[in-house]
Amino acid sequence: TTRAEFDLPEYSVRRRYQDFDWLRNKLEESQPTHLIPPLPEKFVVKGVVDRFSEEFVETRRKALDKFLKRITDHPVLSFNEHFNVFLTAKDLNTYKKQGMALLSKVGESVKYVTGGYKLRSRPLEFAAIGEYLDTFSLKLGTIDRIAQRIIKEQLEYLVELREYGPVYSTWGGLEVELSEPLEGVSACIGNCCSALEELNEDMTEDFLPVLREYILYSESMKNVLKKRDQVQAEYEAKLEAAALKKEDRQKVPTDVEKCQDQVECFNADLKADMERWQNNKRQDFRQLLMGMADKNIQYYEK
C-alpha cells in the first residue's frame, strides 16, 4: 500500500472469520449509506460439511480475499479506520473490546432503521433499482439451481461412463486383431471421465460461489435501499415538522451515487466470472477432443 495513513508499506496479519464478520458489522454501522460487500456464509446450509475440509477452507479463503479486495477498491470504504486497524493491528481483540463502548451508537442506528416512518413517494430511480434487484436475485437463484442440476446430471453421466470404458477393455481381451483399437477406445473414455471430473470441480469451486455471492450482494443492496427509504421517510417527516437536518439531505444523494457505482462494478465482475466459466468448459471439450483424436489416429495407423 502506498497510502499515507499506513505506517508501513506491507502488513501480514492473521484473522479469523469472526474478525471479518466484526469488520463488516463495523463498516455497516459507520457507513450505513454505503453498500458493503457480502461475506461468504457463516454456516453452510446444505448437508454436513466439514468446516476444516480443504475444499471448504479454500473456497472460503477465496471469497474472503475478494471481500477485502472489494473494500480496498472502494473509494470511501477503504479509508475507514476500522478497515485500517483490521489490516494492521497485531492484536485485534483488544481493539474490539474498545469498540464495545460504542454500543450506544449501535442502538442509535437501530433506532434509525425501525423509525417506522411512512414513505410518501419513492423516486422512480430507486423503485426501478428495487425491482431490478428482485428480478436479478430471482434469476441468479434459478441459474444456481440449473448449474447444480447440471453438475448432478454430469455426475450421473460420469458414473455410467466409468462402467462403459472397461467393457471395451474386456472385449479387447477377447479379440486378437481388434484388441488394440478396443483398448484405445477404453483409454479415451477414461480420459473423458477425468476431463469431466475436472469440469465439475471447477464449476463447484469457481462458478457457484460467485453466483451465491451476488445473491447475497443483492440482499444487502436491498437492505440499503430499505434504509434509504427509511431515511427519506424520516427526512420528509422532519421536513413537515419544519425542522430541517442538513445531514439527512446529504445522505440521500450520496447513497444514490454509491448504489450506481456498485451496480457497475457488479456487472463488470459478473462478466469476468462468466468468461472464466466458459474457459473451463472449453478446456474440458478440448481434452475430450484430444482423446478422441488419439483414438482415431490409432485406427488409421492400422
Binding site: 442440476r149 455410467e160 481388434l178 462468466m274 466458459q278 471439450f285 475430450l288
Partner: protein, 402 residues
C-alpha cells in the same frame, strides 16, 4: 472375389409401408411391408439403366428365408436379421415397432442382410434366395416345398449332443466359447451405452434451461442484455444438438447389434458340428457293440454280462440254426454300419473343412467391419466435441462483449 450375385445385381430395400391385412388366423393386423428393388448391373451398357424390378415383402418372409438358409447350409455362418423388437432402448427412443425411426433402421438392416447374403460366395447362388428377390407370388409355397423344416435339427437333439459329445474338434469348442463371450460383452456394451446416452441427453437438455433464464435475465439488464440474449441462444442450440448426435450413435449401436446376432449364428454352426460329431460317436459305439455281439455269438463266449447270456443260461442255448441266422443279420448290420460310419466320417470331415473356411471368411469380415464401426464412432465423438467447442466459444464471445 468369386462371382457372386451382389456384383451382378443392385439390391436395395428402398421403402417401407404400413399395411393392414388378414393373417393366417384371419385376424386383422397391421404390419409393415418393405419394397425390394433389384436391377441388373449391365457392364456393357453405358448411360442405359436396366429396368428396376420390385416386390414387397414383410419381415416374417425375411425370417422364413433365413430359416431356410440356416437349415440348408448348416456349415455357413448365416447373416443375421435386424432385431425383431427394439432392444437396448434408452428412454427417449421408442420401443414401438411401428415407430418411424425404428422402421427406418429396420429397413436399413434388411437391406444390409440381403447384401450380405448376396455377397456370400455360397449363399448367393441359392435359387430360393434369388426367387425371394424376384418372384412375387408363390414364393412361400416354393420354400415350404423344399421341406427344409425337416432338415432343421431339433433343439433338444442339439442340446443333448452338446452335453454328451466326447471328442469335438478343439477349434469348434474354442469358437463356441468365443461366441458366448462375444455375445455377453456386446450385450453389456449396448446396455451401458444406452444408459450413457440417456445421461448425456439429460445433461444437454438441462443446458437448455440456461437459454431460457439468460433470455429472461437479459430483459432486465442494460449493457449485459445483448450478450446474455445471444449466449442464451447458443445454449438452446447446444441443447438441441443432442438429438442428432444420438441418432447417429444409434447407427453405431446397430452395427454392434449385427455382430451380437452373428455370434448366435456362429454358435449354430458349432452346435451342428457337435451334433454331427455326437452322431458319429454314437454310430461308432453302436458298431463296436454289434461287432462284440457277433463275436460272442460266434465263439459262444460271453464276455460281458448281457441279458441274452442270462436268458440262454436260464432257458437253454439256442440251436445252431438260430445262431447262424442271428450272426448273419448282425454281419449285415455291421457291414451297413461300417459303411455308414465311413460316410459319416467323410461328412464330418467335409463339414469341418467347409465350415472352417467360412468361419475364417467371417473372421476377416468381422475384423474389417468392426474396425470401420469403431473408427466411425470415434469420428462421431470428435465431431460432437468440435460442435461443443464451437458452441461454448460462441457463448464465450457473447460474454466477453457484455
Amino acid at each position: 472375389m468369386e462371382d457372386c450375385l451382389a456384383k451382378k445385381m443392385e439390391i436395395t430395400v428402398s421403402e417401407a409401408e404400413k399395411r393392414t391385412g388378414r393373417n393366417a388366423m384371419n385376424i386383422q393386423e397391421t404390419y409393415t411391408a418393405y419394397l425390394i428393388e433389384t436391377r441388373a448391373v449391365e457392364s456393357q451398357s453405358e448411360g442405359q439403366c436396366a429396368p428396376v424390378d420390385s416386390l414387397w415383402r414383410r419381415y416374417s418372409e425375411f425370417e422364413l428365408l433365413r430359416n431356410y438358409l440356416l437349415a440348408t447350409y448348416p456349415h455357413i455362418v448365416v447373416p443375421p436379421l435386424p432385431e425383431k423388437r427394439a432392444d437396448f432402448v434408452w428412454h427417449k427412443l421408442s420401443a414401438d415397432n411401428m415407430d418411424p425411426d425404428f422402421v427406418e433402421r429396420r429397413r436399413i438392416g434388411l437391406e444390409n442382410f440381403l447384401l450380405r447374403v448376396a455377397s456370400h460366395p455360397v449363399l448367393c447362388q441359392d435359387k430360393i434366395f434369388y426367387s425371394f428377390l424376384t418372384q412375387e407370388g408363390g414364393w412361400k409355397e416354393m420354400v415350404n416345398e423344399t421341406g427344409f423344416q425337416l432338415k432343421a435339427d431339433s433343439r433338444l437333439k442339439a442340446l443333448n449332443a452338446t452335453f454328451r459329445v466326447k471328442n469335438p474338434d478343439k477349434r469348434f469348442t474354442e469358437l463356441k466359447h468365443y461366441s458366448d463371450e462375444l455375445q455377453s460383452v456386446i450385450s453389456h456394451l449396448l446396455r451401458v451405452r444406452a444408459r450413457v446416452a440417456d445421461r448425456l441427453y439429460g445433461v444437454y437438455k438441462v443446458h437448455g434451461n440456461y437459454g431460457r433464464v439468460f433470455s429472461e435475465w437479459s430483459a432486465i439488464e442494460k449493457e449485459m442484455g445483448d450478450g446474455l440474449q445471444s449466449a442464451g441462444h447458443h445454449m438452446d442450440v447446444y441443447a438441441a444438438s443432442i438429438d442428432d448426435i444420438l441418432e447417429e450413435e444409434e447407427h453405431y449401436a446397430d452395427q454392434l447389434k449385427e455382430y451380437l446376432f452373428y455370434a448366435e449364428a456362429l454358435r449354430a454352426v458349432c452346435r451342428k458340428h457337435e451334433l454331427m460329431q455326437y452322431d458319429l460317436e454314437m454310430a461308432a459305439q453302436d458298431l463296436t457293440s454289434k461287432k462284440q455281439q457277433c463275436e460272442e455269438l460266434a465263439t459262444g463266449t460271453v464276455r460281458t454280462f448281457s441279458l441274452k447270456g442270462m436268458t440262454s443260461k436260464l432257458f437253454g442255448q439256442e440251436n445252431p440254426e438260430q445262431r447262424e441266422a442271428k450272426i448273419k443279420v448282425l454281419e449285415e448290420q455291421i457291414q451297413e454300419g461300417e459303411e455308414q460310419l465311413k460316410s459319416k466320417n467323410l461328412e464330418g470331415r467335409d463339414f469341418v473343412r467347409s465350415a472352417w473356411a467360412d468361419i475364417e471368411r467371417f473372421k476377416e469380415q468381422k475384423n474389417h467391419d468392426l474396425k470401420e464401426a469403431l473408427i466411425s464412432y470415434a469420428v462421431m465423438q470428435i465431431s460432437m466435441c468440435k460442435k461443443g467447442i464451437q458452441v461454448w466459444t460462441n457463448a464465450k464471445e457473447c460474454f466477453s462483449k457484455m
